[in-house]
């Protein structure tokens, strides 16, 4: 599934520039140590954390898209780091479970 399709169908707000790409799957985590060991190749990471460590971890395991739940928004230096890493950042007003259900209903696993 393309990022653009997820954006359109789940009502995401883009926080930085992004390019369309395929999303292989989804991982949900708020812990850097968990992302390193579990999110490899997931494509889309759903989280509440907005700090730079999260972007550094996402970059390491090839995450393409980070979605911040509950309308969380990172600081400018986090956006800059994501731009450099080529990671698309989005926010949703939904809480984590509600947004996860939307992704599941789209067919993402």
């Amino acid at each position: 599934m393309k990022i653009s399709e997820v954006v359109e169908k789940t009502g995401l707000e883009a926080l930085n520039e992004w390019e369309d790409a395929d999303i292989a799957g989804v991982y949900i985590s708020d812990m850097v140590s968990d992302i390193i060991t579990g999110a490899s190749g997931c494509g889309l990471l759903l989280t509440l954390q907005t700090h730079k460590s999260l972007i550094a971890a996402a970059n390491l395991v090839d995450v393409e898209v980070v979605v911040f739940a509950h309308d969380k928004r990172p600081a400018d230096d986090v956006l800059q780091l994501a731009d450099k890493a080529g990671i698309a950042l989005f926010t949703t007003p939904d809480h984590t479970w509600k947004y996860a259900v939307k992704l599941f209903e789209l067919g993402l696993r």
Partner: protein, 173 residues
């Protein structure tokens, strides 16, 4: 020397705490991985050092095992990873950052003793396997991962980077 084109997977994954201690006599820093149920915060004497607790982070440690030949690389000497943002021309990691360009991210493998007084750091085999492991999982050619040992940094205690750590999650005890 192995001729296997290794395909690495994580093995021996353990959840615990990365504990950072400092000696208030000589200023040395030390870190270790703890499997205790809570972060150890005791002060104690060890030889010339008087170690006191500085920080504790929820962390994970793991080894790498080749799916083809079964070779296992022990990574228990690695305390963490740091995404380098250094561009200091006087630092080998900073120079490498400039040389490799935007597409490649350099991650510094951090060992327990940042002073390297013992002469030890994360092993070459560990650094090489880590780099292979993370690059093998990249689905596109958009980015590359380089891993270097912290002994390569000019001054690791002042090195610019983002340590991959779950800070703040152990402050509720």
């Amino acid at each position: 020397m192995s001729t296997c084109a290794h395909s690495w997977s994580m093995t021996d994954v353990q959840n615990g705490y990365l504990v950072v201690e400092g000696c208030y006599h000589c200023g040395a820093r030390s870190s270790f991985f703890s499997l205790e149920p809570t972060v150890p915060i005791d002060e104690y004497r060890e030889g010339p050092h008087f170690w006191e607790h500085l920080a504790g982070y929820q962390a994970v440690r793991f080894n790498l095992r080749c799916d083809h030949c079964g070779e296992t690389v022990d990574l228990h000497d690695m305390m963490g990873l740091m995404l380098s943002t250094c561009d200091d021309q006087d630092c080998p990691v900073g120079r490498l950052n400039r040389e490799l360009g935007k597409k490649t991210s350099i991650y510094v493998a951090l060992c327990a003793d940042s002073s390297h007084a013992s002469g030890h750091c994360v092993t070459d085999a560990g650094v090489k396997a880590l780099e292979q492991y993370f690059n093998q999982r990249l689905r596109t050619g958009r980015r590359k991962i380089a891993v270097v040992p912290c002994s390569m940094c000019d001054r690791i205690d002042r090195c610019q980077g983002i340590v991959l750590a779950d800070t703040g999650l152990t402050e509720f005890y």
